[in-house]
């Protein structure tokens, strides 16, 4: 009955066709962003666009320099990672290795809920408590700033860092820790010297994923960062790549609108770099196993 083989092959081909939807979607996104974003870049000039320090999209002599946005996104992401990663890994170690019973259940749910909270709520609370808090704490005229955005971002990337790191730590064979304990190390030493290095690739992946999320976040930081196209400073009002798009999109027209798509293209490029990085790390991690 040779038809069984052909049937298998055709089923496989059919499934492949459906699976290719993902590839199509990525291509579609890439193509459309290029189609929408490249004209403005060519009109403004790549150098002026990427390196221009001034953004005045609606002035009579419009300027479309997005360096402030790029730098803000980079600094903001970096800051969020700086705060979020240590806490995230610490909490992951606690969750994966120390917490037991109800504590573990509560912590797990807490992290899941944190991950599930809509970013708007983070923004809202940030706006109503964090921004005035920063203003009062640092004696600033206004608290809406890069710092506020960094803190909100750090909180927002925490759940994904914790979850992924915890998964990586969970998948470290229990035998490693047992071996370490049997050699006379304390549990903490076992986690630090054996578990974390063994989960390295997963943890790095979680960080990279956090970077991706931080770069891509829009709604929450729009509400706390002041949103002025300044060059970034910790206590200054700043605008990110994402917020630049979100804030002007609805009123935009003409070259301004096109320039916004160009920003989206730049953002997309950043994300692709981060993704490629992630891909590499995960692949390497797999190979390592």
């Amino acid at each position: 009955m040779p038809s069984s083989k052909t049937r298998e092959v055709s089923i496989s081909a059919l499934l492949l066709a459906v699976t290719l939807v993902c590839v199509a979607a990525v291509l579609l996104i890439t193509v459309y962003l290029m189609w929408a974003g490249l004209p403005a870049i060519s009109e403004i000039g790549l150098g002026n666009f990427l390196l221009g320090k001034e953004w005045a999209s609606t002035s009579s002599n419009p300027k479309f320099g997005i360096l402030p946005f790029i730098l803000t996104s980079v600094y903001g992401t970096f800051g969020a990672i700086l705060i979020g990663v240590p806490i995230g890994i610490g909490a992951a170690v606690f969750l994966s290795k120390i917490a037991k019973g109800p504590v573990k259940r509560i912590l797990t749910s807490a992290i899941d809920i944190l991950a599930g909270i809509p970013s708007v709520i983070y923004g809202l609370i940030g706006m109503l408590t964090l921004v005035p808090g920063i203003r009062k704490l640092f004696g600033l005229p206004d608290g809406a700033s890069l710092l506020a955005a960094i803190i909100v971002l750090a909180v927002m990337i925490l759940p994904s860092i914790i979850k992924l790191s915890a998964v990586a730590l969970d998948s470290v064979p229990k035998e490693y820790e047992e071996a370490s304990l049997a050699l006379g190390s304390t549990p903490m030493e076992a986690y630090l010297h054996v578990s974390i290095p063994a989960a390295r690739s997963g943890i790095i992946a979680s960080i990279v994923l956090g970077i991706g999320r931080a770069i891509g976040e829009a709604m929450a930081i729009m509400m706390v960062s002041g949103n002025v196209a300044n060059m970034p400073s910790l206590f200054g009002s700043v605008r990110f790549l994402t917020t630049a798009i979100a804030s002007e999109m609805s009123y935009s027209s003409g070259l301004q609108r096109q320039a916004l798509f160009s920003i989206a293209l730049v953002l997309f490029a950043f994300i692709m770099i981060v993704n490629a990085l992630l891909h590499l790390i995960l692949k390497k991690g797999k190979k390592h196993e």
Binding site: K100, P173, E175, Y176, E178, A179, S180, L181, A182, L183, G184, S185, T186, E189, H193, V194, P197, A198, H288
Partner: protein, 253 residues
Amino acid sequence: MKQEPIIRCRKLSLWYSKTQALKDITIDFYPNSVNALIGPSGCGKSTFIKTLNRLNDLISEVRTEGEVFYRNTEIRDPGLDVTDLRKEIGMVFQKPNPFPMSIYDNIAYGPRTHGIRNRSELDDIVENALKSAALWDETSDRLRKSAMGLSGGQQQRLCIARAIAVQPQVLLMDEPTSALDPISTAKIEELLSVLKEKFTIIIVTHNMQQAMRSSDTTSFFLLGELVESGNTEQVFSHPHDKRTEDYITGRFG
């Protein structure tokens, strides 16, 4: 006359929450001997050896009664520094579990943990441990390579070397060859007879041939009870207890 026992166990009972896993175990282990623990699955042999290095602590709701002495130290003492105990009583596990680091770092892990940082000292320890585990010839030219690249049998010998490197007095082995093929198994059994010159070895095994071939004493556990314990030849040629005879002749169950 007989030496002092290095581990002395008196009426040790152990419960996991409410089920009793060990019942009044009384047994001595003497220095420089290979001691096999045999018995069907779930008979308590693994639980027993994990009591000796307090690895059962990892499981909550474990409760013990009785006395277990390592030399003059009561192992069950809640105030005991278990890291010290585990330095004295090393362990090798069922599945080879080298850390995902280099061969060198695997062996050096224990000594480093216990504060040895001096490079040349570590080098010596690593070399000696590998030699003791009959692994030096196979690995001396690739100490910096990952231990994960070794074969299963080599990995297990590496684990033995790693345990040796902290210079314990007692080596616990929990079915160290059950994941290995006959050739690797034979190598490790061979190793046992060399290692016993320096250590006291307590080995849990499913494999009665292994117990026969490599141990000096054999203890038969059944349902948490120590049914019989004695010289290996005697236990296998002439067990005192009917249950032991049934088990070793394969007439059990």
